[in-house]
Amino acid sequence: MKSFALFKKDISSELRTRYAINALAMFIIVTLSIILFSIGNERISQSLTGGLFWVIIFFTSMSGLSRVFVSEEERGTSLTLQLIATPSTVFSGKLLFNLILVFAMNTVIAILYSALFEAFILRNFALFLVSFILGNIGLAFASTIIAAIISKAGAKGTLYPVLSFPILLPLILTSLQLTLFAMDGTSFETAKFELMIVVCYDVIILTVSYMLFDFIWKE
């Protein structure tokens, strides 16, 4: 499949050069360290623990997810892609890459986080898992389309969080609520509404992204 081929190309390029992986790994370590240092020996509440989890996820995403489009644009290979693929193939391939990247990144963050923060106890683990998966999907969807937008603009680095934050805010707020529910041990029944919100968000953002990508991609 064509978009899968594009995804394979991106993955092997990444494995060969290791730009993004190194930068992201260091970023995660640095961010966790800074937070741990700032907290010191204080005990932090459950809701603060949940909140910080999503703070780390957001900033790590901002540092790594724009690469899919920005690197193509900066090297001039966007043109090459335009010559060999339709816009939807390009978007699908890049989306797939970002999905894998988001899951990898956030799994590492979640594991490190639960090891380092004692208040991060997930009483309803199944709920956490479901909301983790749905939230990561939404994160990947929204970040990819915004990455496409800023890759075509100037001032790419600073603009990315500025544009992404308002779009991601409903997702982050709801996912945060779900994480807190999971930490409290709330049942799936109670969390149903929030889960539906995340599902709707994912579907809506994906649909809108596909429809709008053509306008962004071709000059």
Binding site: I145, I146, I149, I150, K152, A153, G154, A155, L159, V162, L163, F165, P166, I167, L169, P170, L173, Q177, F193, E194, I197, C200, Y201, I204, I205, V208, S209, L212, F215, I216, E219
Partner: protein, 234 residues
């Protein structure tokens, strides 16, 4: 010209009435407002806070509509209309946030408490800010219009999440939120006829003001661009 005078008089009346008419327990005279439990004296801000919030949402809606039109026809006039709407939108958004915080200080004790509606208006402010930041980073006219139109539409689809869903699921302090049993449908039942009249007049006045300023805004952008193009060509 006449309706501009009419608009001026209307807004003057609304402002004066809104600020100066007293709030009393049992309104007798035509210029007295009833006391609404939970709001009491700060109820007057409703004449200014709600219209400005209303306008900022209308402006955002219009930014999104003209963004959509631009993407279909690639007519830069639609982009100018979108821009004029956003300019007014951000101004009214700032006004709504400020009037909202002032009200919050008096009613709930602090300027900001992350109530869902407060979060929503703040998110809208961030959207407008991001939109302008995006525009200022792009040189080419068509690219600027295309990319900002795409962003406006994406932002637009996230707005329903703020407006409808979040206040329902999160408890909030706003009148009309999920757990507010007291000041429920303030407009319908608690206001008496006079208050309702001033309120709706304010709403109408601000809306007309907005549309007038929007028309002036987009026309001046279009004329300025045409003049610039002529100077270079000629």
């Amino acid at each position: 010209m006449i309706w501009k005078i009419f608009l001026f008089l209307l807004l003057c009346f609304v402002s004066i009435a809104g600020i100066s008419f007293p709030i009393v327990e049992n309104p007798q005279a035509w210029y007295e407002f009833p006391l609404i439990k939970g709001l009491e004296q700060n109820a007057k801000i409703i004449f200014f806070h709600v219209p400005t919030s209303w306008i900022t949402v209308v402006a955002f809606f219009m930014t999104a509509i003209y963004s959509f039109k631009y993407l279909r026809k690639k007519n830069l006039d639609d982009d100018a209309k979108s821009y004029a709407a956003a300019q007014l939108g951000i101004i009214f958004c700032i006004l709504a946030t400020v009037t909202g915080s002032v009200w919050a200080k008096f009613a709930w004790g602090s300027f900001w408490s992350w109530d869902p509606r407060q979060t929503s208006i703040f998110a809208l402010l961030l959207i407008y800010g991001a939109w302008f930041a995006l525009r200022s980073s792009i040189e080419s006219e068509e690219k600027r219009a295309t990319l900002s139109s795409v962003y406006a539409i994406i932002a637009f689809v996230t707005v329903p999440f703020f407006i409808f869903i979040m206040p329902r699921i999160m408890t909030g302090l706003h009148p009309g939120s999920a757990d507010d049993t007291n000041a429920g449908p303030v407009v319908d039942f608690k206001m008496n006829a006079n208050m309702q009249l001033i309120f709706f007049l304010s709403l109408i006045g601000f809306t007309i003001l907005y549309f007038w300023m929007w028309r002036l805004g987009y026309k001046s952008i279009i004329y300025r661009d045409k003049l610039n193009k002529q100077i270079i060509r000629g």
